[in-house]
Symmetry: C2
DNA sequence: CGCAAAGTGGAGTCGGGTTATCCACTTCTC
DNA sequence: GAGAAGTGGATAACCCGACTCCACTTTGCG
């Protein structure tokens, strides 16, 4: 017996439920391959369903996106928790930067799905903000542990993700691993070393950080 | 007396010539501010002219772009020549990376104007390819001089420009200098240092490099 | 000055793409 | 096997950018 927030929305018929899942799977794949700009019509066609079927289940794109974002956010949080539990701060920082970048490289729409979902419901907004704060805290710990150079800030994480994502999208068909090269160069650039200069202050507020992920 | 390539295209009337220059100036500004996707209608409106006037002078966007690209390419080449004549290879490399990034940061449409113009005429194509080769040669010299780490390649220049340009566009309204931070981190990451690892091979052909600039 | 050629403005057409609806028909489920 | 639930996909409604067309204005030569 499933509990739903809405007032007793009766369960879907078996075939409808199957189609709903097919839509979600297809949407996940298409958003990953082509980015968030695929249309509900594209998804319907790719799934072998009629457009009407998709619109009946998800009245518009934002509600489909919201459904996907739930799942993705959960995966992200679980991954972070596990790494944080098992690594030193320095290792966790580097490992999480790389694995977030990898997730983004393999899923063109990832950040936009997650952050657009935050623009709809206050609840989604809260979860997205929380994610930003978890990263900010991790950065703070990495700084205290001396794992990054002076002046490194949470905004650098955002810009790192933006840059690596852009490279991944641009090179996907040419050399699908090219993003790693850039990620490593950047991580090397962020590492402290003898005689490095402190980076200038850069501290964006949550709103600005969110906007960056929506580029 | 002006010499023109075409068979005696008679000179423009004075007012028409004035408008032509106004269109070019306006287009330069709008492409810089908003990127290459501004329409000829936008440009006409911003210049205070009718659409018809713009279309009479430039039958479509590619021909307007070609006219702008000429000028921009010339500036780029002149800048490079001057720096190369006055600096050591290492300084020239760093200086040119930064000044190209700055030019791009101040002109959203810069690379697209230049590289799209290369997709139209064989002559434009040649000039663009030549520009890529000049950079490739500079990278080769920088490697020989030990100014960059092992494995650095011309394709890294392309990816550098892509990344910095993306950051500049994303942060223009928040902190217009944020791109410098990323540029410096990247340049630090490219610099050789004790114990660094060689970057894996990455050598894109001219076509792939051109595609990257068109992202 | 006068007049033909050149240039102008901008409403409006065209093509292409996305969103979303609607309803005759099919499939489930009891 | 009846009636509720679900489906398909043609199509309406909309948005947008590219480009045309022609009545009107301006230029500049004789």
């Amino acid at each position: 017996m499933t509990i739903r927030a809405e007032s007793a929305p009766r369960a879907l018929r078996a075939d409808a439920e199957r189609n709903r899942e097919l839509i979600l799977r297809t949407a996940t794949r298409l958003f990953a391959e082509r980015g968030i700009e695929v249309t509900l019509n594209d998804i319907a066609h790719e799934a072998g369903l009629g457009v009407g079927t998709v619109y009946r289940r998800f009245p518009d794109k934002p509600s489909l996106i919201a459904a996907l974002a739930d799942h993705k956010l959960q995966l992200i949080r679980d991954g972070m928790q596990e790494t944080l539990a098992n690594c030193s701060v320095g290792d966790a920082f580097r490992g999480l930067m790389l694995s977030a970048a990898e997730a983004r490289a393999n899923d063109r729409g990832l950040f936009k799905v997650v952050f657009q979902s935050g623009d709809r419901s206050p609840e989604g907004h809260r979860r997205v903000t929380e994610l930003l704060h978890v990263w900010a805290k991790l950065v703070q710990q990495a700084k205290e542990a001396g794992a990054v150079r002076q002046g490194f800030s949470a905004s650098d994480v955002d810009l790192f993700m933006l840059m690596v994502g852009t490279v991944a999208d641009a090179t996907r068909e040419i050399d699908p691993q090219a993003w790693r090269r850039c990620a490593e160069v950047l991580l090397d650039g962020y590492a402290p070393r003898a005689g490095d200069t402190a980076l200038a202050e850069l501290d964006l507020d949550d709103e600005a950080r969110r906007r960056i992920f929506l580029c």
